[in-house]
Amino acid sequence: MIPLAIDWHDLLQKSVIGFNRYVIYYFITLNSVYLLLFLVSLMEVVRFVRRTFFSDYQQILKSEMTLPISIVVPAHNEERGIVDTVRSLLQLNYGEFEVLVVNDGSKDGTLEQLVRAFNLRTTDRIYRRTLPTQKVRGIYASLEVPNLTVVDKEQGGKSDALNAGINLSRYPLFCSVDADSVIEENALLRVVKPFMEHPEEMVAVGGIVRIINGCEVRDGRVVKIGLPRRVLPVFQVVEYLRAFLSGRIGWSVLRSLLIISGAFGLYKKSEVIAVGGYDSNTDTEDLELVVKLHEGLKKRKVKYRIVFVPDPVCWTEVPEKFKTLLMQRNRWHRGLLQSFRLHWRMLLNPKYGVIGTLALPYFLLFEMLGPFVEVLGYLSVILAWLLGILNMEFFLLFLLVAVFYGVFLSIAAVLLEEISFRRYPAWEDLARLIWYAIWENLGYRQLLALFKVKAFFDFIRRRRRWGEMGHRGFRPAAAVPGQH
């Protein structure tokens, strides 16, 4: 008889060594993908800058054939800044557009502030209720500002508010804008250009989101750009540069863009209605909408484009505290997991083209499993050390390579910024960007991986907490109505 004694120590050692080997292969694959994305983005940025040199923005502005746009602003308890936001939107440099503010059951004075500031009055406006929403309590128009409409409705969440805005919008394109963001004066002209170039095929266009912390804002406009003083927001500046300039540009070129930020995106209304509008069942309505659009359009075998353009800018405030950052990232990652659960049938399905065979596998392998591999990797190193099988020299060298590679990707994103848009003109800001691109890899990125692991367990437990974002507000106190 063969004895069944198991050498647990040996088994554990082999498992740890096997897992560590897997981590190395994973690391090489992931970073090769990142490098590829960076190279694709670099080529696209150079091409984009050359094309933008010959921009036709003045012609787009003056042309009678420029497509009119409905700007939809969902607002919930935004009394502090809503009037400034609307004023800044009304001043946008664009031909024909309307601003539709949807007051989503605010408990504060959001509606009253708007009524007072723009001399609003109720109107019996006729509209088609194409998308189901919570009850609309009233529609308000202004005699002074003919292109402003305010919709007051019962609370139904951001998706519901956006759907109500779509129902009331008059134009074939709508632009979703967050009530606490600032859109640059020429952003609409820039974001509409892909629609002008390919009106039949273009379905959605996303613009870049930049961080407003540290900038000077006057009358709802960014008048001086600067880096934030605090450490956490600067880390996010570097992270956003990487995500937008070497992430989304690359995915857009590969025709696999899955995310258009809810803070600023332009959509063809008819296509959004065709897929049932925004979905309230996920925590990130922006991601879910884009995935739904891909799914719907691929099913219908329609030739379409969903693209990212890096020069229309939306400025937004980011968390300055770890707790708030945790809540934000938790929601983002939960949203990703929820959308994946809803559309898993697209995974590896050639019917969905590059979305099914490239983008979704990437999101599954690297965005969803990546944080687990990273955290388990750290744990397995500790375990290997306890078991006495850790090759300290190899571990330290590997760690250094990982950190150096991360720094390379962050500095590469700064390079993309520097050769293209150069939004941070001060030498001090450039030096700080490079400095923080190094430091971001020593703690911040690891922390984000932990946040994502936590989000996974929250997703399993079906937790759907939004939490307060605790905005400090970028508007000067004097400009806030009703504040003394």
Partner: protein
């Protein structure tokens, strides 16, 4: 394995240092260049402006022969001013560009293998407006890169000569829709002469370009295009019919009314919507009744355009809208109420509720009852709650009370 990692580390470290140095050096060089250019501009600009304003015969006589960066700066100053000047000053800039060899230099650049260099040359030649470059720019309209063709088209548009119209119309064949739209914009800016050429060449244009061309004809507002536009109201393509109706509205001749009255019954709703809008612009009384009928259309855009059309016709149109609030058709009633509200008519009647004249008050009451019966009362309810005069609030509340209207 460790040795491989050490080598990878050295490579990565080297790349990082190089990248950082490149970023810093790139910024430093750019700023130095900008500062130098600004200094040169400060020195040379006053003399260039003096020349533009009439001093001397030749700019070359006022400046030392410009070389290197100075040459670039002189060209930049001339072209910056060319963009907003007209008349003699503008002609002097063209002369200076020819005299200093900028035109020759940029014409040579039109043959550069890099597309953005060719586009840049076309852009600059457009601002220089030298007739000497016209033939080379016309040749560039056959460039393989759409962006270059577009710059060439813009340059031709700025030349404002009859020779440039024909190649622009030929460029309508370009399959890129954005190009077609931009060419339409350029042609529209060239006035009636462009419209005449466009009418002549219309039959040769592809379908997609025809839509843009029809728009262009409307925007030029040339009467000479009216015959073609009226004929196009019967075109098999619904987009062309719709744009033709719109363009006729832009030209604005009331004699188009009978043709547009036929289009307001077109089977395609975009044509009906555009015809309704155009009829509103023409403002003829015989259009009132058909527009009132169009308020019942099953398409929202047609109803809204018909209501807006009636509103823009003044008293007659508003009277028709008042009549429509009693229409059997619910859509027609709602479109009429919304438009009257927007025009401020409803508020005028509400104010009359406080009038000392009893007949005025009765008239206002009757009108408001009709609005209530039309089932669009959001605005009235809000006014009943907020109006400054108690008397008005009371009367409105009474009318809005359930059962009041039927009783």
């Amino acid at each position: 394995m460790s040795e491989v990692l050490i080598q990878v580390l050295w490579v990565l470290g080297g790349v990082l240092v190089l990248l950082s140095l490149y970023i810093i050096a790139n910024k430093a060089l750019r700023e130095m260049r900008e500062k130098r250019a600004a200094r040169i501009r400060r020195d040379l600009e006053p003399r260039i402006l003096e020349y533009i304003n009439g001093k001397g015969e030749r700019l070359a006589a006022l400046l030392p022969p410009p070389k290197g960066m100075e040459r670039q700066v002189v060209e930049e100053v001339l072209l910056d001013n060319a963009r907003f000047l007209k008349g003699n000053s503008r002609a002097r800039i063209t002369a200076a560009c020819e005299d200093l060899g900028y035109v020759r230099e940029r014409v040579r650049q039109l043959r550069n293998p890099r597309w953005w260099k060719r586009a840049e040359a076309a852009e600059k030649l457009a601002a220089m407006k030298s007739p000497k470059s016209a033939q080379d720019i016309i040749a560039l309209m056959r460039d393989e890169v759409p962006e270059v063709r577009m710059r060439a088209a813009r340059a031709l548009g700025q030349m404002e000569t009859r020779t440039s119209i024909k190649p622009l119309i030929e460029a309508f064949q370009d399959p890129n829709r954005w190009s077609a739209l931009r060419i339409a914009d350029i042609l529209s800016g060239m006035g009636p002469e462009a419209a005449d050429e466009l009418v002549e060449s219309f039959a040769t244009l592809p379908i997609k370009a025809r839509v843009a061309a029809v728009d262009c004809l409307g925007r030029v507002r040339s009467h000479r295009a009216a015959g073609l536009l009226i004929k196009l109201l019967s075109d098999p393509d619904r987009d062309i019919r719709a744009r033709a109706a719109h363009s006729l509205g832009l030209i604005g001749d009331p004699n188009f009314t009978p043709d547009l009255l036929r289009s307001v019954k077109d089977p395609a709703w975009p044509v009906r919507a555009m015809a309704a809008k155009a009829l509103g612009k023409l403002g003829r009384p015989e259009a009132v009744e058909p527009l009132r009928e169009a308020l019942k259309d099953r398409e929202w855009w047609v109803r809204i355009n018909a209501a807006e059309g009636l509103r823009s016709m003044g008293e007659r149109g508003l009277a028709a809208l008042v009549g429509a609030i009693e229409a059997e058709d619910r859509y027609a009633r709602h479109a009429a109420v919304a438009t009257l509200e927007g025009a401020g008519v409803l508020d005028q009647y509400v104010e009359k509720l406080a009038s000392p004249d009893e007949r005025e008050r009765e008239k206002a009451l009757a009108f408001i009852r009709k609005i209530v019966a039309a089932e669009r009362t959001d605005h009235l309810m809000q006014t009943a709650a907020r109006h400054a005069q108690e008397k008005v609030r009371e009367q409105l509340s009474r009318i809005l009370a359930p059962g009041e209207v039927k009783a």
